[in-house]
């Protein structure tokens, strides 16, 4: 600001009427605040949705045999027909930075039957001890208890239980085509019921201990269809999947495909993109409103300084120099506004991140894109939006200054100085 006199003049002009400057800067700062906080809330809602959608069961990264998807055939276990050392594989996956937990699973299409009712379901064999670190199905338990490892027990959705008319303690006949071609069938006891809010899971899935389901399907203990992996930051899933694919799959004799949730739940990515896209509309509206306020202020200040501009012009200043002072004033105002904006935004973001606004008393929970969403407005930290909103604010100030700057150059020096 010391290099050019125009900058100095512009900066000094802000101090002429500090009250007006502060009011204008505060207005812009609140615009900045609104944009960043609303984006933080939207990001928080999306992150919450992703966390719920992937956290209930799927995990944020999944490992399969390359041939497993999309058909999900019974035989396409990791490592082929021989299977793998599951414990070693889990240890290798969990050694990856950012991975919080990993759990092995087997899947099969089957029937569960009680009395005269038979329903086709997806049978999911899961390791009860390991699932705690990956999925939140246990938290969705509404009746009974979790299944015990090794026992022929099932957790089923509350909706499936209603269809079958069973309760914890009831017996179910479970039938599934086994890997040796026989018809696997056995009696299982309903251990507990869950209500996840995800229709497919609640009505068409039965979860049992992985060893019991493997026995039903005549699969050895080394044969699993999936390793579900939970990671700390959902948005790092693609990078962690890449890293796992390089590090874990390469040394072994078998290939493993690691997929991030962005691949197997593309609709969530679409929603996140839609959400961040719609934030630009908010930016546009907020700053379009601000632009007129700023233009008004600058128009007033330039009008008040007509004599000063006339004098400068009379002394030989070029119109370009005049334009530069006014624009410099606008930029300085913008910078002050941004600083003020950051100062009032950051504490609120932190506050609402740790103590979010809870609207669940007004709305209750709801399901969106197959994911349970709690109407709790926990803000995320929209780092990029800090810069975008700052840029938008500066552009707003500059655009608002264009017309006042033009008017300043049109001041007729002689008439103005003569008081005419």
């Amino acid at each position: 600001m010391t290099t050019s006199p125009w900058w100095r003049i512009g900066w000094r002009n802000l101090g002429r009427n500090p009250r007006r400057t502060v009011l204008t800067a505060t207005g812009l700062a609140f615009g900045y605040w609104a944009v960043v906080v609303i984006t933080g809330m939207a990001d928080g809602l999306v992150a919450d949705m992703v966390r719920t959608a992937t956290g209930v069961l799927s995990g944020q990264v999944q490992a399969h045999a390359p041939t497993y998807l999309p058909d999900r055939t019974l035989y396409a276990t990791i490592g082929g027909d021989e299977g793998v050392d599951v414990a070693a594989l889990l240890a290798a996956v969990e050694a990856e930075p950012g991975v919080l937990g990993a759990a092995p699973r087997v899947y099969a299409g089957g029937l569960v039957s009680s009395g005269a009712t038979t329903v086709g379901v997806l049978l999911l064999g899961a390791d009860p001890a390991r699932e705690e670190s990956v999925s939140r199905l246990a938290a969705a338990l509404v009746d009974g208890r979790l299944a015990t490892a090794g026992a022929r027990e099932l957790l089923i959705g509350r909706e499936l239980a209603r269809q079958l008319d069973v309760a914890p303690g009831s017996e179910l006949v479970v039938v599934a085509p086994a890997a040796d071609g026989s018809l696997g069938n056995d009696l299982f006891t309903v251990a507990g019921l869950y209500a996840s809010g995800i229709a497919e899971l609640d009505a068409r899935t039965a979860v049992g201990p992985i060893d019991a389901i493997q026995a039903l399907l005549v699969l050895g203990s080394g044969r699993v269809h999936e390793i579900a992996i939970r990671i700390a930051d959902p948005w790092s899933a693609p990078f962690i999947a890449d890293s796992l694919a390089r590090r874990v799959a390469a040394p072994g004799a078998y290939a493993i495909a690691f997929r991030p949730w962005t691949t197997f739940r593309p609709e969530l990515v679409d929603y996140a993109n839609l959400s961040s896209g719609s934030m630009w509309i908010v930016v546009l509206i907020v700053f379009a409103m601000a632009i007129f306020g700023v233009a008004n202020t600058l128009l007033m200040t330039t009008f008040e300084r007509r004599r000063e501009f006339a004098l400068l012009l009379a002394l030989g200043a070029t119109p370009a120099g005049i334009v530069r002072t006014v624009l410099a004033e606008a930029v300085a105002l913008g910078v002050i506004s941004i600083l003020l904006g950051v100062v009032i935004t950051v504490p609120v973001l932190v506050w609402w991140h740790y103590d979010p606004i809870d609207l669940s008393r007004l709305f209750g929970d709801f399901t969106m894109a197959g994911a349970l969403v709690r109407p709790v407005l926990r803000t995320d930290y929209p780092v990029a939006m800090f810069f975008y909103a700052g840029g938008a604010l500066l552009v707003t100030a500059l655009l608002a200054a264009l017309y006042p700057a033009y008017r300043a150059t049109r001041v007729p020096p002689a008439d103005t100085l003569a008081g005419r």
Partner: protein, 249 residues
Amino acid sequence: MRPLLACVLGLSLPISAAAQRTPREIVDNVDRVLRGNSSHGKITMEVVTAHWQRRMDLAVWSLGTDYALIRIAAPPKDAGTATLKAGTEIWNYLPRVDRVIKLPSSLMGQAWMGSHFTNDDLVKESRIIEDYDITIGFEGMRQGVPVWEFVLTPKPDAAVIWGRIEEQVRRDNMMPTWARYYDERGTLSRTITFTEFRTLGGRLVPTVMTVVPTDKPDERTVIRYRDLAFDIGLEPSFFSLRQLRSGTE
């Protein structure tokens, strides 16, 4: 249709007057004569898939087109497992858990006991005459043998899974030699071939029937009749859930 039961029940007597019949009558006749009024047979079913192969010994009873009971006699692991067809319903008995379960209609397309037949094949086989329009696609000599080749096209309102069925029948003995099943896009889905024609239960029947799914040419289900008896006087009451569970022959 024809698949499981028709093969199970044996096929046809030579019919000299066949030449004067309409395609519909011939196909109906091939279909009908095979099963007699009632029948009882012993069958070996061999299933070969990319992942396993197994042999099962089956005992089969049928009455008309509405009733059938199939019980697995071997291997020991599956022995006693039985399927009852009554009308459009299918029930399975599972001796290991001593329970009977009724198959939901949504699972009719599932494989029967791991074979390349579906439960639907059991239920729908009786409806071929009602569900399809039948025309002659070819009539003449194939490899020195006079044959008909019939084209079965589903009627507009028929609830069937096939887009078209083609079936070759030898004119001299009214024996089917193959049937080809096409999906709704007109792609060949599976082929059934009939071979080893012998007299069982007093009738000439193709004693071996082989099903090959087109998309997995290395897989197959082979049904081989070891024993067949026709018109043995079964009553509808025989095809009961109680009989399904009984495990006796």
